[in-house]
């Protein structure tokens, strides 16, 4: 209500001010405000929303409601000499997704900017829970629930829990980012460019998180989000544009989590017991910092040669105090070996690039890049761990600070074979060196070629092809586990992880732009990516192809038609194995192999028109788009029942988004337009993994009868919006 009143006051103010801004005298005279040159515009309107908009997807990242609204206000002021400026821009006034920015300064000399930006994120509108939040990070249950369920016979517990869950209360599953930014830029002389940016972002709300005490006792909770992030950036650049430039910058990001711990009751127990805790304990994201110092430079060398270099050193730091192994008082857990990680990652980047047009038609480029992630966090030997607060397993293990060094290099030649026909050929190399992972060293080489052709000024082709091959020198399945515990990996020894293993890659890209007539533009793209991993198990291949067309045609000066279509096809293959443990021994039987085929097929289509119905008076804009995505997952392989890995063809995932906008624009005056708009937004969402969710999932699976969820779904919606908008420009 208060928002509504505020909005009415704002809109009335703007409408009244329209008369102030209204230029006097000749139609094209400069608008004056307090003796300053003023220009700007604003959109105010009233809208009604209809249809089923209860899904979180309708307002996922926005805040659209019926009633009065002020979508945009822009004001720019200049002194009469037009050497100083002030501007203000506001969007989505008095809504959860509002944004305001203001700038003041002198053209070409200095400027100061302040900005406020809010981004909501709505996860679900159907969440329900029995848990009651106490303080920032504790979720309690009424004692009666735990007492009753603990006292009930094991066979009766699911029904008892279900009865309680029937009374679960609605829960807010959304968060909002509020970010304030201050920026200052100064160019006191053409040689200097000084910048300072500070931002303060608050992220607050809750989102679903999974927690568990065992396979059969999962509790979905609203994770409390209460983040504060400060970022600072300072840079100084000096140089002469036509000669050389040197830039030094410092950036810092300080992240602080006000809700660092999650404590929640176990619905099945009121009192701690070995194997069944009364509460769970989990740390949420710890506070951390990052700092970066970067020195970049470039010099232009005669003739047509430029050398650029970057050196950057970064630090990521984290030293939050550890929580105990468990909150379960019935479990005898040892004390902590250390109080905190003293986590420290140092990064180092260096990048060199030399490019030269050594001949009028030949350009050569060479580049080298190194990125080193040096993880200096403590590696601590732990006596064991608690499994979900149920027990303490004595299993000495060490945390390993994964780190890597990545290098890239390459050379490229670009030859202008004839005017506007460019041929490029090049070689690239990417080398990885890792610690504690399966592949210590790998090298990937790419040969590529490209043609850019502009045979006439109305035709353009760009096409490229690249072939890559990655060689991993040795794949050590046990590398990580040996560093952690000295034991063998629990993974299938034949598994090869796709991001490390040998890979062959072919990549084709094509773009055509065609403007045969001044009123006809056609463009098309095609791309193909084939990744073939040398793996018997795990991800085996990834084959993608996309094709798109776009056309714009203006048959008359009063009508423009446009349309486009994109087809995307992503196909993944993987192989896995069912490996049951029988009498303490893992059964590795190739007969239990199964394969998965995942295909994402997406069609996106849009069409529209911009038409003038009455010259200088009435326009019509119509756009319609549909994005239809279907993911199908098939598994093929062993037989013998689901428990033994029976193949399952999952129901297709379907997302189909329709958007239609029809807008009649009536120009009352040159600077005053009214619009009557109709908007349809319709999402059909079918998701086998979330559509069935409810707080009690025992109906679907026996193993879930003693678990609690929130029933947080994200269904489709159908929203119809009718709006009347007034746009005023001054």
């Amino acid at each position: 209500m208060r928002k509504g009143i505020g909005l009415v006051i704002l809109i009335v103010s703007f409408l009244l001010s329209a008369s102030i801004f209204s230029p006097t005298g000749k139609a094209m005279a400069q608008t004056k405000l307090f003796g300053l040159n003023a220009n700007g515009d604003f959109d105010v309107g009233v809208r009604g929303l209809f249809g089923d908009r209860s899904s979180s997807k309708f307002n996922e990242y926005r805040d659209v409601h019926s009633g009065l609204y002020l979508d945009r206000f822009f004001l720019e002021l200049n002194n009469p000499a037009e050497t100083y400026f002030f501007n203000f821009k506001g969007e989505n006034f008095i809504r959860d997704d509002q944004r305001y920015s203001a700038e003041v300064g002198r053209y070409g000399q200095y400027q100061l900017q302040v900005q406020w930006d809010q981004i909501p994120h709505l996860f679900s509108t159907t969440g329900r829970t029995l848990f009651i939040k106490q303080g920032r990070e504790t979720f309690n249950l009424p004692d009666i629930i735990q007492t009753t369920i603990q006292a009930a016979a094991a066979a009766d517990r699911p029904a008892t829990l279900r009865n309680f869950l029937n009374g679960a209360s609605d829960i807010d599953l959304q968060l909002r980012r509020d970010k304030a930014t201050l920026g200052i830029r100064g160019t006191p002389t053409p040689e200097w460019d000084l910048r300072f940016v500070y931002s303060n972002e608050r992220e607050k709300g809750s989102r679903p998180i999974g927690t568990s005490f065992s396979f059969g006792s999962q509790n979905e909770l609203p994770e409390p989000i209460d983040y504060r992030t400060h970022t600072v950036g300072v840079s100084a650049e000096y140089g002469k544009s036509d000669k050389w430039v040197l830039k030094l910058s410092y950036d810092a990001s300080l992240f602080n989590n006000e809700a660092e711990t999650l404590i929640w009751d176990n619905p099945l127990r009121i009192a701690d017991a070995a194997g069944s805790p009364a509460r769970g304990l989990m740390p949420l994201y710890p506070d951390n910092q990052a700092h970066n110092i970067t020195l970049s430079g470039a010099i232009n060398l005669a003739p047509h040669t430029r050398f650029t270099a970057t050196l950057s050193r970064g630090w990521m730091l984290q030293d939050e105090n550890f929580l105990p192994f468990t909150i379960n008082s019935a479990v005898a857990a040892p004390g902590l070996a250390r109080n905190s990680l003293e986590g420290k990652i140092q990064t180092f980047l260096m990048n060199y690039l030399l490019t030269s047009r050594i001949l009028p038609r030949l350009t050569l480029t060479g580049r080298y890049r190194l990125y080193d992630l040096d993880n200096r966090s403590r590696s601590i030997l732990w006596p064991g761990h608690s499994v979900a607060d149920t027990n303490f397993v004595v299993e000495p293990e060490r945390n390993v600070p994964f780190e890597y060094l990545k290098q890239n290099g390459g050379v490229e030649a670009s030859l202008e074979l004839m005017r506007q026909l460019f041929w490029k050929i090049g070689w690239e190399w990417e080398g990885w060196h890792r610690r504690f992972r399966e592949v210590k060293d790998s090298n990937e080489h790419t040969v590529k070629t490209a043609f850019d052709i502009t045979p006439t000024n109305w035709l353009l082709f760009r096409t490229s092809y690249g072939h890559s091959w990655r060689n991993a020198r040795k794949y050590d399945t046990n590398a990580t586990e040996e560093a952690m515990s000295g034991e063998e990996s629990l993974n299938l020894p034949l598994l090869r992880k796709f991001d490390e293993v040998d890979r062959g890659r072919d990549k084709v890209e094509f773009l055509a732009q065609f403007t045969p007539l001044s009123n006809l533009t056609f463009s098309s793209t095609f791309s193909l990516l084939n990744d073939d991993f040398d793996a018997s198990y795990g991800f085996k291949s990834n084959n993608n192809n996309t094709v798109s067309f776009n056309i714009t045609y203006a048959p008359t000066s009063r009508l423009t038609l446009f349309g486009g279509y994109t087809r995307e096809d992503y196909f993944y293959k993987m192989t896995s194995r069912y490996r049951p443990v029988v009498a303490g021994v893992t059964v590795d039987d190739p007969a239990n192999d199964w394969r998965a085929r995942v295909r994402d097929l997406v069609h996106t289509f849009d069409v529209g028109l911009n038409g003038i119905l009455l010259q200088d008076k009435l326009d019509l804009d119509v756009t319609y788009s549909i994005s239809s995505a279907r993911t199908s997952t098939r598994t093929i392989g062993t037989t013998g029942g689901a428990a033994a890995g029976e193949p399952v063809d999952y129901p297709s995932l379907i997302n189909r988004l329709h958007q239609l906008l029809v807008s009649f624009n009536y120009h009352i005056k040159k600077d005053l337009t009214t619009r009557l708009q109709y908007r349809l937004e319709k999402l059909r969402e079918r998701d086998y993994a979330t559509d069935i969710m409810s707080p009690w999932m025992g109906l679907f699976e026996a193993g879930s009868r003693t678990s609690t969820y929130m029933g947080a779904t994200m269904r489709g919606f159908e929203g119809h919006t009718i709006a009347g908008v007034l746009t005023y420009k001054f």
Partner: protein
Amino acid sequence: MGCLKRLGVPLLLGALVSVPLLGLFFFVQAQPPPTIPGATFVGSEQCKTCHSESSAKYWKTNMGKIFLKSPRNELEKRDCESCHGPSSKHIQNPADPKNNIRFGKKAAQTLAEQNAVCQQCHERGGRLFWKASSHEARNVACANCHKVMENVSDKNQFTKKTEMEVCSQCHQVRQAQLMRSSHMPYREGKMTCSNCHNPHGTPTPKLIIENSVNENCYKCHPERRGPFLWEHAAVRENCLNCHEAHGSNNPQLLKVRQPLVCRSCHIPSRHPTQPHLPSTRFVFNRSCANCHPQIHGSNSPSGVFFLR
């Protein structure tokens, strides 16, 4: 990574290349903008005679105001002729495209020459790495994305109203991806392509602004930065091992839905990997993350399996 030991050779190489280049410092010369042989400067007042409408629009732009009212150097003082070159021959024969510098498809100058005009002033700041960047190397002209002569967009003088429209002229598939159910708030106008990419070039592949993909993601997701006690190696190396940033048909921008995305690297025996039915806790809701919520890294002494 024993950084300094491993960096010795590259640093040495860098120094070997840098030192002689720095030695050439006093002989430096930028790629010159194109010239119009025989033409002389006539002043921008002359331009208004025929181009009054476009001049009026141009002088409302930031660049127009600087050149007209607050020029900072001799080049800017030439106003129209700073970019279009001396115009005396153009006045004599306006139809001949060789008589002045033009931008776009009908220009007599090559794309490199057209770009060189812009780079007289715009080769610094975010454009430091333009030369040999992905776009420059594929002969993309400044004028493909920017329109200097009038304000079409609120900022950056784009050829289209929004940045996304500009980028999707060539990156049509990316635009289609933004329509996916799982997406970042691009289409709601809260993000743009340049939040993650600098189209003018960067030291990082794919025109990523920060020093690595992950450092880019940490800008908005600093909580995932760590370092954590228990790190997930594939996560530490590259967020894109699991996520498709431009939009996905799967929740959380996953490339492939859980549990398959996890199973691509994990075939354990502890809870045997099998194609579970969709109505089981191994698949529904957040699948593996129903029990392993800390997959981005855990700071719990009991977090070795990311349960805590």
